[in-house]
Symmetry: C2
Subunit: 173 residues, 2 copies
Amino acid sequence: MTSVKKDFETEKQVFSEHIQKAGLRHTAQRDLILEIFLRTEEHLSSEDLYWLVHKEDSSVGHTTVYRTLKLLTDAGLAREVRFGDGKTYYEHHYNHEHHDHMICTECGKVVEFYSPEIEALQEKVAAEYGFKLTHHSMRILGLCEDCLTREKELNGAASGAQPRVRVKSVVGI
Amino acid sequence: MTSVKKDFETEKQVFSEHIQKAGLRHTAQRDLILEIFLRTEEHLSSEDLYWLVHKEDSSVGHTTVYRTLKLLTDAGLAREVRFGDGKTYYEHHYNHEHHDHMICTECGKVVEFYSPEIEALQEKVAAEYGFKLTHHSMRILGLCEDCLTREKELNGAASGAQPRVRVKSVVGI
DNA sequence: GAGATGTTGAAATTCGCCGTCATTTCGCTG
DNA sequence: CAGCGAAATGACGGCGAATTTCAACATCTC
């Protein structure tokens, strides 16, 4: 890296090539949306990103952001993720290792992790049932360290404290 | 078991106790919905169950079925599961082993599986990050044996066949 | 069995997703 | 660099699932 500030040259390159190959067009909106997406390290919903874009160019509409995120997904720059709240979030995908998510049900913190052992076992299980694995998703819900200690402190005062878990029965996907 | 036909006594008992403890009321609708839910072994959406109930008592509305399923979930008799099609399904939970799901992206078949190794690794990963694991969900997407062989046969005829995968980029949850 | 309170069910609302369409913009060509 | 055809844009609206509202009703308690 020659500069301290990231300029996302390679990502933009990937996007341009995808645009080219798919016979699509290069537009100012798409550039702006990509730029802001890359600058933001968090998991973003289409709506979240819309507001970030809106701050810099209020003429860009929801639809364009929505469609551009799909485009980024096709280009391999973004990845769709769902955390169980019904919304679709996007995260950086290019040059990012595959990973799964661990979510704190108290504060909403999201930790990304990767376990090669689990990956291998998934392949094994799939093979046992004759499946050819194409994707998988895994989500671990629990309490993060901070919320755990905070809860213990509270329990010191009030004994039968409520578990205060927001995500109730979203055990599924 | 003394009778061949399942009468779900214990499940009904659990439900009654939950109703009691929560200060709720025992109603004919709830009984009927529970009964039909228990009789049906598949993954049911609220809508699915509504129609089954409707056949036996057409006066019961969508809302009641919807709310009763939530109630059953709270009571620990049902579990919500989502397979990525936007709908929420429910499966039996009481006295049912925990398991995860493997879904065929071609025919929609759902296989339940359980891997103690994966479970243990999840605990381990959570511990590494200071998390106290409360739930988790895991979904493996792929092609089942039948669809795999069918695809191979088709590939014999048409060479560059499309992968025909319905679930595109639903990598998340 | 009467009153308090929880429950029911139709309808309406909310919310995210996605298609439509008139208008604008891009990128090529001459 | 002007013109043209195709693609992109953005406002709007439809759709389906989830959820809330509210008046009528059922259930439990005393």
